[in-house]
Symmetry: C2
């Protein structure tokens, strides 16, 4: 039970528009592994939060944070070994020699801003292609590229949104779907060239999560990269959501598509909650940019952030979380499919590794946003946390910390089943 006092205080300090989850909001006070506790001591299974990637308050990560914070926290204009070790390990997660340089920032927004600056500097062009339901950050420069959230700014004149293939909703062959959508990319490039902007970059979340976790064919992503490069532009892979092993079969979402991006951005899960983000690119691109721009980020790559980043990589390695995400991800898909088979409204189960989507529909595959909203609130009342996403707001977003186990996935699947049963009676 949330006190009305607390809600009133929140409205006084954050205003009436600050986003809050669930019809009946939660007042959280503690986290551990895949679990959070509210102020009344009720325990919730967290199947939503990907920021605590290796588990809420993982002791190894907290310990690294505290040890370094007690010792030194300062910028990178003095030498420090912690951040060099982290840069070595992070770039070591990419096949050599191309993506060999990490530039540290604090948020996914800062990473995408920096990636765009580098792409524009290198190409001499300014146009950007994004998906037509996407989100890459909250700065002014990224707001004007935002197609998946309300924003007061008009879409940038140098931006061309393209529709991403949706295999579940597409009526026709996969080849037709890919060709049709690549034609839209050709048109976007032609339009940017004609307007004099040219194409500096395409920026895609490589798991297309805001878009509804679409099961996009690799042939499409490859076709986009080829076309953008032929026009002189670059591929920016936004790995803020898929990165750091969540996909199970790869450390980064782009690896599953067979392309190698010029620029990779990451954030959220990178510091398990600590504000840590990065651009990984080639030394050639980075050095050309920093030769002309004095780029400096006060907090970026400070030893505390780097120690946290190292600790997160330790846990991913020591607990074999990528392999775990592959195995448990398969189990998650299997259990969700078992549930979906019993409910017509659960039209599609998809995703990769420990990031799953369940598309909720009515007759004729009509998106059912009301059902998605009802399900996440009903599940919340049964103490399992998921959310929803997609242009029609009808895809359940299931994205637990990577340490989730089989029993917890069983609880998730059983709870989804109970909610669907209660709501479709």
């Amino acid at each position: 039970m949330i006190s009305t006092d607390l809600l009133a205080r929140r409205e006084r300090h954050f205003g009436p528009n600050a986003p809050l989850f669930y019809d009946e909001p939660l007042h959280m006070v503690r986290g551990d592994g895949c679990w959070m506790w509210d102020a009344d001591g009720t325990r919730y299974l967290d199947c939503y939060n990907n920021v605590p990637q290796v588990g809420h308050c993982h002791p190894h990560v907290v310990d690294a944070l505290c040890r370094q914070a007690q010792r030194l926290n300062i910028h990178t204009r003095y030498l420090n070994e912690v951040v060099l070790e982290y840069a070595e390990r992070l770039t070591g997660l990419f096949a050599p020699p191309k993506l060999d340089r990490a530039m540290f920032v604090c948020t996914g927004t800062e990473a995408n801003e920096l990636a765009l600056r580098i792409a524009r500097h290198a190409t001499g062009k300014s146009g950007v292609i994004v998906s037509d339901f996407s989100y890459h950050g909250n700065s002014g420069g990224l707001a004007v590229l935002t197609t998946g959230l309300p924003r007061p700014e008009p879409l940038a004149d140098f931006c061309r949104p393209v529709t991403i293939p949706d295999p579940f909703q597409w009526e026709g062959s996969q080849q037709d779907m890919v060709d049709t959508h690549l034609t839209m990319v050709d048109e976007a490039i032609a339009s940017l060239d004609q307007a004099g902007f040219g194409v500096a970059a395409v920026m895609f979340d490589t798991i297309f999560s805001t878009e509804g976790l679409l099961d996009v064919p690799s042939a499409y992503v490859q076709g986009v990269a080829e076309r953008v490069r032929a026009a002189g532009g670059m591929f920016i892979a936004d790995e803020v959501q898929p990165g750091f092993g969540r996909m199970g079969d790869a450390m980064w979402g782009f690896e599953r598509t067979g392309i190698v991006p010029e620029l990779v951005t990451m954030g959220k899960s990178m510091g398990n909650g600590h504000p840590l983000a990065a651009v990984v690119t080639s030394s050639a691109l980075a050095d050309a940019f920093t030769g002309d721009a004095l780029y400096f980020n006060t907090f970026g790559g400070n030893p505390v952030s780097a120690a946290v980043g190292n600790a997160v990589l330790d846990v991913i390695e020591q607990e074999a979380l990528m392999q775990h995400a592959a195995e448990l991800g398969q189990y998650l898909q299997d259990r969700l499919r078992e549930v979906a088979e019993r409910f017509d409204c659960a039209g599609d189960v998809r995703g990769r590794g420990l990031f799953a989507g369940v598309e909720l529909i009515g007759p004729g595959k009509r998106p059912d946003a009301a059902m998605a909203r009802a399900v996440i609130n009903d599940m919340r009342n049964r103490h399992v946390l998921v959310s929803k996403i997609g242009p029609a707001d009808n895809v359940l977003k299931i994205r637990p910390p990577l340490c989730i186990d089989r029993k917890e996935i069983d609880l998730l699947a059983e709870t989804l089943s109970k909610s669907l049963k209660a709501l479709t009676r």
Copy 2:
């Protein structure tokens, strides 16, 4: 002695252009209060770093960080009391009722980006006035407003830089100086209006630190605010450098000028090194913006950051650091003036509270950048850390953690004296 291995590793991972302090760089491993230790165990008096505002690794701040990181670190879409307490305390540092809303982000860049979005939304205009030697952040949108650092991007067509009054270099009356410089502001506004942008905001660092810590008359700042407001624009006070009591006589730099900004941005010192920043504005402006934009910042206002922010405010209060900055700031000015009287090249000592500048000149007040560079390197070799700033790169920047004491200021002044003596023989 820095190992060549470490420098080579740094170049391999950060490239040849990553900024590094001093001709002979420092390899820092530990910090405490106003002191840092290098890998050889040599102790350096830190008179440069304002990010560790209440002292390197302050135990109360580290303790708050660790306690909350062990408990819960999650975004603000669940209710949490820690961030509400922090919002209450932070906005309590502003006179009611106008600046009553804090919006939490992670870096000064994010704060200035958000402030600009809010100003543009509220005014319906896009033009921005900045000083002609300024820096407000590293995003693409702030890079095109940057006049005080190299950037590859051209200056934005909607930006008008203005020259800030420099009382030390100005030849003539103060009234003439203010009038002349306000005429430039009139011209900037007219130019923005004529080009169809209008003026959304003027954005000033209220201590004008990048500009060389100029002793700008309040009449100028008031005149700018009046003119910008008459044209329909807003005043954004960038308090990233002066804020949180460093000025001694006020918590915020703008308070000394007699104006009340529509938007205040802060960062750096706010979390004593933890990536924490904010925009403080009126609830009216914030709510109008968030009514049209779904603004969300994943890490912004998380309970760990908020706990750190609260702890920094605890220390500022409990150790009376603002009053300390006033008293020790006066002592710092006195000691620096004593030194300056003995050396012709030390042309001006200025600043406020624990932020001091010493302008180094040759005959005819000619800026002497070579001397400034020599001094900071010589002082570094005597184990006292300062830096330099200003359009001519000739102003010593002295900006210690606020916990500095009289003996440490004596050491700073004596070391500056020794360096000037050695370099002017």
